[in-house]
Symmetry: C2
Subunit: 181 residues, 2 copies
Amino acid sequence: MTTVENGVNVQALLDARAALKDAPEAAQFTWRATSKWEKGVHSTIRVQQFHGLGAEQTHKSESVFDADHPAVFAAEDNGITPIEFLLVGLASCLTAGVASVAQNRGIQLRSVESTVEGNHDIRGILGDSDVRNGYNDIKVTFHIDADATKQEIEALVAQSQKRSAVFDALTNPTDVTVTVA
Amino acid sequence: MTTVENGVNVQALLDARAALKDAPEAAQFTWRATSKWEKGVHSTIRVQQFHGLGAEQTHKSESVFDADHPAVFAAEDNGITPIEFLLVGLASCLTAGVASVAQNRGIQLRSVESTVEGNHDIRGILGDSDVRNGYNDIKVTFHIDADATKQEIEALVAQSQKRSAVFDALTNPTDVTVTVA
């Protein structure tokens, strides 16, 4: 068997799956972000700490993001629009899944690119109650070059979708509670 | 009446709402992201172009994001985890809404901070079919300092939630189609 190297430590993930089966409390993660309003619809958001494996964890560095609205919304465009961050998460989650599944199946990847498009009728957020606020639908298109048949590549993408955290979060409802301290 | 300045051009948004009522096709936006696999579960995602008001539009600059998994997932932690981007979008969307609604209601904001926490049982993404892949639930806590009563501040947050694109996208299902070109 040819050695495949996509850079994913599949054995560690299989070991984690086995370990967490007997320690479900360690599998409870809490991801966190903190935001600070700057001015107008511009805010900065920071991500570094999270909880998992029964302890506080930290990313090796803090990530800071700017979110704003574009000039066509009469804003200053200091960063991408909040709803665009969902597309960033979806693209990266599905791509990580493709790499992991390919590694597990012994398929060498050469390149994986995707385009994500979210269709959005902005009359909802502007106050029209007959139009939903979020996306009407989202389309993801992958371009993948790998040592595999078209059918094998399609199966990689299908399996990635089946185990994608972000795909699930967007296609199924999640309870979100908002409170004022 | 005191002049309130939160930096949101509410009149432009009200004008847009009126204009788009008679031109629904101009209200159809398509937001886009493109991703490129780097190595392992690391990818880079770019956002700049979008479609809206019947034409191609562009952010004033391109935004580039790194997504990866942390060291506890046996990865290199070159960026935040895909599912964390959903929290970035949620925090910034609700914050933009608070600022817009406050401006419209004549409430001066001094500071708006929030913490967003997403609870996630990672056994799902590791392959346990009895556990969902996405978040179990998400909690958002706002700390707001404004020239307003506690009740008025709570009403700001409630109205923001009611018109938030990302809140809707996370609490209600969206059709996501994934294809291989």
